[in-house]
Amino acid sequence: MNALEPSTSVPQPLLKVEAVSKSFGGIQALYNVSFEVTSGQIYAVIGPNGAGKTTLFNIITGIYTPEEGGIFYDRQGIRGKKVYQLVRRGIARTFQNVELFDSMTVLENVLVGQHVRTRCGFWGAICHWPWVKKEEKEAHRRAMELLQFVGLEGVAQNRSSDLPFGWQRFLEIARALAAEPRLLLLDEPASGLNAVETEQLATLLQQIRERGVTLLLVEHDMSLTMSISDRILVLNQGKKLAEGTPREIQADEAVIDAYLGRE
C-alpha cells in the first residue's frame, strides 16, 4: 500500500525526540516521551484530549522549550531554537483552528509562506532592484503552482477569510508547503472537514509525501489516521502509551483500554 517501500539503505530518522518532559505549573504535560520519525513517513500522534499532543507540537516547532530531553532534527539538536529559525531549517506547520492572514488574498497568504525562501528586505523593497522584481515574479509563480497543487488556483485573488472552512484548511497546507519544508506538522488537519473533504485531504497528504515531505500529524479522525499513517504514537496523560504501525496499534490492549474503546 505504502508508496515508500523499504529501500536498501538504512533510513535516517529526520526527527528524533528523546525523553522529553514538559510541565506547566506543576501539571506534567509530557513525561519522558521518545520517538523517531523516519524521512518520508507519515507519522501520526493520537491520544485523548489533554494527552499532550499539542504540547508536543509546540515543543517540536520551538514555541516551548522542554525542561528535559532533546529534540534532534536532521541529526542536529534544535532544543531552544526560535520558531522562525526552525522554519528556515525546514519545519513548517499548520494550526488546529486554521490561522490564515484574514486581511490578505489567498495568493498573498501563500506568498507569506515563502518568507524564508525569499530575501527582499526594507532596502530591497524601497530600491526595487531588478533582482527584487525577479524574486517577486518567481514567488508568484511558485505560489500559483502550490495553489494549483491543492486545487485553489481559481480563487487566488479572493480574500482568504471569504473561503469556506474546508478550503481554508487546504490553503493553510499550501501556505505551509510554500516554506519548502522537509518536515510538515499538521495539527488536526481533518477537524471541521466533511467526509468528502477528508477524503480529499487523505489524497493530498499522500501526494505531499510523494513530493518528499515527511509528515507528522496530530489527528482525531481514526479512520483517516489508520489509513494513511505509517506509524502511530499514542499518548495518554503525557506519557507514551504505545507506538507502532496502525495494525499494531489497533491490536494493542493498553490502547484499546485507554482510547479506542472495546466493542
Binding site: V87, R88, F95, V112, H115, G124, A125, V132, A139
Partner: protein, 317 residues
C-alpha cells in the same frame, strides 16, 4: 502612473493657489501626511499602536533647530542628524517597548511621548524651554530659497510623493506582507518564519524617521518651535488621522491629514474643545467605518457593485 497624476495635481495646485494662508495650510497638510503615513506603516500595517509619535516629530524638529540656531550649521546637516538621531533613539526605545502588546504598548508609548515633552520643555539651555527656539533659518537649495511663494509647498509635497512611493513599495513587498501578517496573526507569522520582534522594531524605526522628517520640515517652515507643538494632543491627532483616513491605506493617510487640518480651520468654534471633537470623530469612525473613511467608502462602493463572485472550482478538482 497614479504618481504622475498626483504630481501633476500638486504642481497645478501650487501654481493655482496664491493666497499665502491657504498655501501654508496645504503645506501643513503635506507635513501631516508624512506623519500619518509613517504611523500608518506601524499602526495600520504592522498593527502596533504608538501614542507617543509626537516625540519623534519633536525630536526631528528640535535636532535640526539646535544644529542651525545654536551651532550655525546648514539645515541639511540638521536633517541628516535629525534622521540619524531619531532612528537611533527609536531603535533603543523599540527594543524593550515592542515586547508589549495591546493596551500595554499604548501605555508605554504614551509614557515616552510624555518624557520627550518634558525634555523639550525643561532642557532650557538647548531647547529654550517653554518659550521655545526662535530664528530657525528657512531652507535653501543652492541659490534657490524656499521660504517665499510656493517653494516650500513644492518641497514638502515633493517629499510626500517620495514617501508615498517608499511606503507603497514596502507594502507590496515581502516585508510589507510580513508586516500585515503580524497584524493578522502574530503566531502564524512566526510559524511562517517571520522574525516578528525584529521586524516590529524596524517598522517602528521607519515610522519614527518619517516623523522626524516631518518635524524637520515643520521647524524650518514656521522658523519657531515650542514644546506645545509636540505634546500629547499632537500624538493623538496623528493617531486620529490614521484611523479616520483608514488603517493600512496609504492614500487614507493623505485623506486623514487633510480632514484633520481643514476641519479645525473651518470649525473655529471648536478650538477649545479640540480633544472633544477628536474623541467624537474617533468614536463615530470606529463604530460606523471601522476600516477608516477611505476604505469604508470603497467597501460601500464595492458592495453596491457586482456581488462577491463566488468561486466555482472546488479543491482537488
Amino acid at each position: 502612473m497614479k504618481y504622475a497624476l498626483f504630481s501633476l495635481f500638486i504642481a497645478v495646485t501650487g501654481w493655482w493657489v496664491s493666497n499665502p494662508y491657504y498655501l501654508q495650510l496645504l503645506t501643513f497638510i503635506g507635513i501631516y501626511t508624512i506623519l500619518a503615513l509613517g504611523l500608518n506603516m506601524l499602526m495600520g500595517y504592522a498593527g502596533q499602536i504608538s501614542l507617543g509619535h509626537a516625540a519623534f516629530y519633536g525630536l526631528g524638529a528640535y535636532t535640526s533647530a539646535v544644529v542651525t540656531v545654536h551651532w550655525n550649521y546648514s539645515p541639511w546637516l540638521g536633517l541628516l542628524l535629525a534622521l540619524v538621531l531619531t532612528a537611533v533613539v527609536a531603535f533603543l526605545i523599540a527594543l524593550p517597548m515592542l515586547k508589549l502588546t495591546g493596551y500595554y504598548l499604548g501605555m508605554g508609548t504614551l509614557g515616552f511621548g510624555m518624557i520627550f515633552y518634558v525634555l523639550f520643555r525643561e532642557w532650557r539651555t538647548l531647547t529654550g524651554g517653554a518659550s521655545g527656539l526662535v530664528g530657525i533659518p528657512s531652507l535653501s537649495l543652492g541659490s534657490l530659497t524656499l521660504d517665499t511663494g510656493n517653494g516650500y509647498f513644492y518641497l514638502v509635497w515633493g517629499t510626500v510623493v517620495v514617501c508615498f512611493v517608499i511606503c507603497e513599495r514596502i507594502v507590496n513587498s515581502r516585508v510589507g506582507r510580513a508586516l500585515r501578517a503580524i497584524h493578522d496573526s502574530e503566531r502564524a507569522a512566526a510559524a511562517m518564519g517571520v522574525d516578528t520582534s525584529r521586524l516590529k522594531v524596524w517598522v517602528f524605526v521607519l515610522s519614527a524617521v518619517f516623523a522626524a522628517l516631518a518635524g524637520f520640515l515643520y521647524a524650518h517652515l514656521v522658523t519657531f518651535i515650542s514644546p506645545d507643538s509636540f505634546d500629547f494632543i499632537v500624538s493623538i491627532r496623528i493617531v486620529t488621522m490614521v484611523v479616520i483616513g483608514g488603517m493600512a491605506s496609504i492614500w487614507g493617510s493623505l485623506l486623514g491629514a487633510s480632514l484633520l487640518t481643514f476641519l479645525p480651520d473651518w470649525l473655529h468654534v471648536f478650538s477649545d474643545y479640540e480633544m472633544l471633537v477628536y474623541g467624537l470623530i474617533l468614536m463615530v469612525v470606529m463604530i460606523f467605518l471601522p476600516q477608516g473613511f477611505a476604505r469604508g467608502m470603497l467597501d460601500l462602493y464595492e458592495r453596491s457593485r457586482a456581488k462577491y463572485k463566488r468561486p466555482t472550482t472546488s479543491p482537488q478538482g
